[in-house]
Symmetry: C2
Subunit: 468 residues, 2 copies
Amino acid sequence: MASHSTRRSEIFGQPIAVINIGLAGFAESLRQQGVQLIDVDWHPPPEGIPRLTHTKSGVSIDEANAEAVRRIMAGRPVILGLDLAKRVIPGITERTILHAGPPIHWERMCGPTRGAVMGALVYEGLAASPEDAANLAASGEISFDPCHHHHAVGPMAGVISPSMPVWIIENTEFGNRTYCTLNEGLGKVLRYGAFGEDVYRRLHWMADVLYPTLADALERSDPIDLRAMIAQALHMGDECHNRNRAGTSLFLRTITPWLTRTCEDGERLAQVIEFINGNDHFFLNLSMPAAKAMLEPAEGIEGSTILTVMARNGTDFGIKQAGDPNRWFIAPAGIVEGLFLPGFSAKDANPDIGDSTITETAGFGGFAMAAAPAIASFVGGTAQDAINSTNEMYEICFTEHDHFTIPALDFRGTPLGIDVRLVMETGILPKLNTGIAHKNPGIGMVGAGVLRAPKECFTDAFEVIRDW
Amino acid sequence: MASHSTRRSEIFGQPIAVINIGLAGFAESLRQQGVQLIDVDWHPPPEGIPRLTHTKSGVSIDEANAEAVRRIMAGRPVILGLDLAKRVIPGITERTILHAGPPIHWERMCGPTRGAVMGALVYEGLAASPEDAANLAASGEISFDPCHHHHAVGPMAGVISPSMPVWIIENTEFGNRTYCTLNEGLGKVLRYGAFGEDVYRRLHWMADVLYPTLADALERSDPIDLRAMIAQALHMGDECHNRNRAGTSLFLRTITPWLTRTCEDGERLAQVIEFINGNDHFFLNLSMPAAKAMLEPAEGIEGSTILTVMARNGTDFGIKQAGDPNRWFIAPAGIVEGLFLPGFSAKDANPDIGDSTITETAGFGGFAMAAAPAIASFVGGTAQDAINSTNEMYEICFTEHDHFTIPALDFRGTPLGIDVRLVMETGILPKLNTGIAHKNPGIGMVGAGVLRAPKECFTDAFEVIRDW
């Protein structure tokens, strides 16, 4: 009630309202004093950033971008099934390891990516110990490649090795397929760079029990519509990047009747369901390849400045734009501001890592923070911060999503289509939320938080657009 | 962003802000014009409403109320199991029909309550047709009694007949048990006053398949903690009265491993899970008896002006207060403002009906609207209306809930403990949300909406408190 929150001035005898134009710092200090405030977001016009409207060959950038977001929104990602990576992901061999983010060699890999690679090589039986694995990885006998070069995405270290089971997602509107591993849970897990017996045991159980049980159920069920499921989860307090409790619930509700129809071993079924029920991030490994599947059809639209990829390998941050889909623009990965698990602090944190920023690229995740106020307990901040965060992202997005909406904003569509031009014109960088891995191999998760994408990627991309 | 939403005056060249004190109508018309507004909620002091602090025997009302809300918050309602009403609900016979709201005779029953009674008598085999049933009901051979007189609650018509299966909820902190039927779904269902073959067939399937399957699973599972489940659902966009999608999901996540461990018939299991998955209101019939179980221990605290019951039978609205738990204060049931299903309108609507206002009485439901902005698509209104609604209810509640919190209000506790004194002092009446039944027997649901409790109940209760 205003009568509670409004400070009354002793001089004026009534509440004071302030209009702040420009520098947010003034507004912030007034807000902290409980003053009612209208904060006008105003920046001086950027210098040296012209509005780019057409390529040299005369293609309208706005029209190209409209086509890009049209395709993204038209996408219908469904779960087709599960299979082993080596059987379905194009272009990988028994000695390929995929990782998150832009390309990187073993020598430049960060601790958690190294840890995950070492763990995966032991899991594959290619090395007897993490030390062995490190030697093998350094020997040149393993080919490392970004997930994104193989229609795949991976959270955090994002390591996919040949015998891991992967989700197969098909965008039925365009026919493209994408891939992602099964989510292991939080804590001491491979994707956060952990290795060791517990990690291998879980991965083997996932391959031996979870995968075939789910695969059988998916073979009988209708294809599961992930766009509809993400849309529903956004109405249930998820943003489908770092909060996936609703998505995980909705997936379970949908799959369990098919689990009971296809598996007669009640105890095995119970363990499969309890594993998923015990891991509220299970749906992340579905929301990510769904995002990738929706974004891919926009790749290669001449003149489009809409991002189709944002991804980090823990060392570098890379983006790609629709009009130039084979080119990475790369800058150092940023430092995450966040909440840390007991016993850990900022000094333990690896820089920003993972392909999960594909969710923000597709118009949800951090861009839909306003839908997920409860995420504050995971990544920090207040409910108002969450609303502000989404509101700010509208400034750099080409449109609002037709299918993903935010109840708290009266069902306004989420910000969709990060436009390199708008990022440069406004100086507003994409705001992401993310888990935080320990900087050393073998340890795992230490926290979660928020940060912005690095400006250099956008500056470089913009220079290239000027030459189009 | 303010730069988008702020109208600029052509004269002043900058946004205009208005401070409105008092009459909300002025604020509303300015808001419709998009003017930035600070709306100060100010009422003239109430006349003739003294602050009541002690009973004549010297009991501190504040202390009594503090004890009441302490007990309510200390309650731990868990699902103990399921059984037939006649075997577990105290004081009912083969010829008892329980109904929602305060006591009422057949002659004064509204259409949907009559419809549900008629349907239940056919379902029980006590009548061959709805017409037969109406004659039997009018004959005096059936004893009608409020659910609330038997530790039970029922949504809408709230009819419980002897052979219906009911949830058994135990408040493990105090040992009291409460009861509620299984939720049938929306539309043409008994609790909305519908009868007919479809209704009986569903009720028989629920008794023959759903009930024993769930009961077996519950016998093996640990007791399911409903306070924790409601608390989680409030973080997932439910308010657990008219939005129960998250609660239903969380219940399913928890029970399915025990379903698969206790039932070997995969197809039967699949049908049970699909029935629950197909009915997002399934959890309502758990949140209601959980609320009742938490409220009962507050009954009988001398000097407490906290409500322990708000309930409607479609003709009358009744309340009870903790300090005088056997006495109903009754007024005519109100008219619901809402959204109607296609083909129906306000003229088809029965007045307010059902025991489900036990949720608001226990500090959630309509009082937690701010947690559930997506409910606007079911009961109408905007996201801001939902926030305002919860904020207003703090004015008439004795405290804020320790365990039920609202992420969008930075995890502020929900308004808990409707204090008759505060209702009278502020003139603010409890705001409820509810489904809407057709006014004629045999039809069913026609919509959903919001309304306020009638003032007369509180005026009468207040007069009694003055004599304590």
